[in-house]
Point group: C2
Chain length 362, copies 2
Amino acid sequence: MEHPENSCEYKGLTVNDGVDEAPKINPYLTKRIKPRQLSVDDYVNGILKGDRTILSRAITLVESNLPEHQDIAQQVIERCLPHAGKSIRIGITGVPGAGKSTFIEALGMYLCHDSHKLAVLAIDPSSERTKGSILGDKTRMEELSVEKNAFIRPSPSAGSLGGVARKTRESIVLCEAAGFDTIIVETVGVGQSETAMHSMVDFFLLIQLAGTGDELQGIKRGIMEMADGITINKCDGNNIEKAQLAQRQFKNALHLFPMPESGWTPDVTTCSAFEKINIDKVWKMVEDYIAFTSKSGYFDYKRNQQSKYWMYETINEQLRNHFYHDETIGKMLIDLEDKVNRNEMTSFTAAGHVLDHYFSQK
Amino acid sequence: MEHPENSCEYKGLTVNDGVDEAPKINPYLTKRIKPRQLSVDDYVNGILKGDRTILSRAITLVESNLPEHQDIAQQVIERCLPHAGKSIRIGITGVPGAGKSTFIEALGMYLCHDSHKLAVLAIDPSSERTKGSILGDKTRMEELSVEKNAFIRPSPSAGSLGGVARKTRESIVLCEAAGFDTIIVETVGVGQSETAMHSMVDFFLLIQLAGTGDELQGIKRGIMEMADGITINKCDGNNIEKAQLAQRQFKNALHLFPMPESGWTPDVTTCSAFEKINIDKVWKMVEDYIAFTSKSGYFDYKRNQQSKYWMYETINEQLRNHFYHDETIGKMLIDLEDKVNRNEMTSFTAAGHVLDHYFSQK
């Protein structure tokens, strides 16, 4: 349903995987050697061996909107599925300025030194608006981007939230099959994408800053109640006291919230991603949560629920797309919205009119 | 889409409005005289005159699922629309035991003595589960139920949330056209109905109890962040200190939340509905909010957004119903859920299968 311009081809990339015809390369006209085409077997074998170049190319296929790429991508994913699911998936969010990139670099280096294999992905359906603040510039994670046990994948090109979420979720499967045992999914904390992320990770970490004023106003309402843990970042220098006060305030606040379905009481830590202080404490929180929910069975239960959620979410999104992409219906809706706003028609009657039209066409 | 047994006829009520044929009454067999049939004009004129019996019968029509009743109901509502919209609509929620009924009675009596005209409605799609705790028993509001300026309407018979929400929203229109200047909509605070309510009221009040333990665990996550105001009820006797502590805690917690879209900072009061203490302070909070949002233009903006929301929500619900009520699709989904849970298929592929089937039928 996305515009073809969202596909890699139109962005000047040279994805050629899965096209049957051999590319015609004139060595006198091009310096670039196009990568050899890969079969589904090539992809699957490469991924299972942990070949990062092939993993990368497979994710590019997943992100492509071309039907021939999608065909291959789906076959690759399906064959990777039995090898996936064994990682810990962590969602990280926070407003711009909370220090997400610095934090992910610090946590990532900590995990890699602890012999973890880490993949970092991002959900950012509105990347044009956020101007690449979300993994857009790999170089912002200088250490992690050259670390051999880490794999950083910038956000897929902008598209509908559903589309981007699907791509991220399928990329997780590929990374897991490639042997990454920890997956970090990053979002910006201001849009709808946190709900999407919450529905694909095991642990949801919110990065906050000290202060009860404007600094906190950026985060979207409802996100705090989704968090399995909060860390107050930038707890360093002159800011330590303020950060510790914030920690107490957030702890008290979380206490007033109802117990989450998991039965886990979300905790609040302080850390300094910049000074690499207390990164281990944040990780301890994640490990405690995983141990707790694994024992109670909630871990597996949630993963099953998530799979179902995405099946139904995809169905519902496509049903809506089919309806709202009808040109006549689009025009009717403009007129009906107007009538509803002028109190000439109830919302329900208006909905009835346009639904009658839709179903009579069938 | 609801089962015919949900309609009034099957519950043994004697709604006969809008049926063309005159009821055949044998005075020797029945003591009850069936009400005379009313025309759309009769309904509209009666409502606009503030005739409560006719208002009540009109709401019964709105709640009926019979097509012939719905036809008349929609005509009545549409003619009432230009006279509606002039009330303050307040949503009230809280867990069972928070004292909602006692609070609504206290606030209601306070408003009626202050020459307001008050209608109390309820959204409770799961009334069977909550066992009538929600206005199910009018007599729980002993004073208010005999007060001439108050109109209490128990929850419509159980049905889908969408259906019940529609009925409540349309009943609001009728009550406003009948001259009620304040509408209270009650929900139980444990289900999905708070989002529905939030999308039809101007001010959302959460009734809480003191204590940070089990008492608070009943409320559904996310509701606190929807509230425009919180009142800690049962601030009386030995409980005053605890309630005031809770007030401070909630105030601090709300401070950590991001500013709501309205620009209004939610406040927290204490009250005792039983002792009728501080009911005026709760109302002051509502009045301040209305004044603030009226001045900023947010009040009208939100009402427009709500109308649009219900139009699109109704459309989306009907699209889903049409899909999920297909028998073959129901069977396919059971099988696909299974495959997804066994990691044999991705959620997205599963969704694709069933969508292909659906759209190929058209």
